[in-house]
């Protein structure tokens, strides 16, 4: 269960990489400052009242209980409505990504109405261009949240929610499931990778093809182990298998994290994952493959790491 997370980007509502998160941050700061001032004011009032010695007046209640709150919340409601219009109002988006929450990972389909390019556990976004994220669930309710980019939106079985986001900064940003979804809910994260728009087109074109061929003998052995040990019963690797039960592994070696945004992608973690997944992520559907021989395991890991 111990995470070895080291190289991840921020997961912070104040480290801004998206238009919605940016506008909301100003609202947060404004409300926090106003709230702190009001709190201080009321406390000063309590202190003065303590020394009031019989000086209570009805207008305090009218002023402090009615007029003042009405003015403040009226202003807040108007401002907040304009921010709401800006972050959640209808907007045309040139890109569509479909993300389906599953216990306990994320299935990703780029351009679902067109090429339907499959991926998992990493959402790649083009910088500065609005992306409509279609949110679904195939089991229980999850919630899709990348704090640095935008607020959260639930993924509900039987419904399709949409969240339109515009990334404003390149980099890697961490997202996490925000609705309790069962045993491994704390271990259900992902990464949002923001890249320039031209790289995004290239990324999609690359992902659309088949997986990279195995080159070294060890990698070829790994590909054989993958097919002979039952991995293909669940995992898709374009050109090799097309089952869609577990995460798509066509470019797994390119991802920075393992186990739905939880561990750094490196040889040790990957081998540990395959051999002992039920220890690392209790509740994950994948069985532990601790019956693999050492060389087979190393070969499988080497091949998976080569899938970039």
């Amino acid at each position: 269960m111990e995470s070895t997370l080291g190289t991840f980007g921020s997961q912070d509502t104040s480290s801004i990489a998206g238009q919605a998160a940016g506008e909301t941050l100003w609202l947060t700061i404004g409300m926090s400052v106003a709230g702190a001032l009001i709190f201080a004011l009321v406390m000063v009032f309590v202190a003065l009242a303590w020394r009031g010695r019989g000086g209570a007046r009805t207008w305090w209640i009218v002023g402090g209980g009615v007029v003042f709150p009405v003015v403040v919340i009226g202003a807040l409601f108007v401002v907040s409505t304009f921010v709401l219009k800006s972050v959640a109002g209808p907007r045309a988006a040139p890109h569509v990504i479909e993300v389906t929450g599953k216990q306990f990972w994320w299935n990703v389909i780029h351009d679902p109405d067109g090429r339907a390019i499959r991926d998992a556990n990493e959402v790649v976004l083009p910088l500065g261009e609005p992306v409509e994220i279609r949110l679904k669930s195939s089991d229980v309710i999850h919630s899709f949240w990348i704090p640095s980019i935008a607020g959260k939106m639930d993924m509900i079985p039987g419904r399709v929610n949409t969240l339109t986001v515009t990334a404003t900064r390149e980099g890697r940003f961490r997202g996490q499931c925000a609705e309790f979804c069962g045993l491994a809910h704390p271990l259900m994260a992902f990464e949002a990778v923001v890249i320039p728009p031209d790289e995004y087109a290239a990324f999609l074109a690359d992902l659309d093809g088949e997986a990279r061929d195995a080159v070294t003998p060890q990698e070829r052995r790994g590909a054989e182990v993958f097919q002979s040990s039952g991995c293909i019963a669940c995992h898709r690797v374009a050109g090799i298998s097309d089952t869609r039960i577990g995460p798509d592994l066509t470019r797994v070696g390119q991802r920075a994290a393992l186990g739905a945004g939880m561990w750094d992608m490196n040889t040790g973690n990957l081998a540990g994952w395959i051999a002992d997944v039920s220890e690392m992520k209790p509740g994950a559907e994948m069985p532990s493959y601790n019956q693999l021989s050492g060389p087979d395991l190393r070969a499988l890991v080497a091949w998976l790491e080569s899938l970039t």
Binding site: V66, V70, F77, T81, K85, A88, G89, P90
Partner: protein, 102 residues
């Protein structure tokens, strides 16, 4: 009715008016914005506006003419005013957005 009964009615009436108004607005929004799309925004606005005028009126009745007697007169007055404001706030939700979309 005794004076006190009238005051109790004047306290409760705005609350009931608020409840009717809230249910009306919620039902209108749900009818217009769910899969069935029972009616459009224009109907929503007209029906919601009418509900608002009537229900706010019922509240302000307690404000304009709180029953005499000192006992709960203040409570009747403020109950009317608070609920009238709450009704206006709920109605204001309709005026900021011209469609269900989001």
């Amino acid at each position: 009715m005794t004076e006190l009964t009238r005051q109790v009615v004047a306290i409760a009436r705005p609350g009931l008016a608020w409840a009717v108004h809230f249910i009306a607005i919620y039902a209108l929004i749900s009818g217009a914005c769910a899969a069935r799309a029972l009616f459009g925004y224009a109907f929503l606005l007209i029906a919601g506006g009418m509900a608002t005028v009537i229900c706010a009126g019922l509240c302000l009745w307690s404000v304009a003419a709180p029953p005499a007697g000192a006992d709960l007169k203040g409570a009747a007055f403020w109950s009317g005013l608070i609920f009238a404001m709450a009704i206006l706030a709920n109605a204001s939700a309709l005026f900021f957005f011209q469609s269900c979309g989001g």
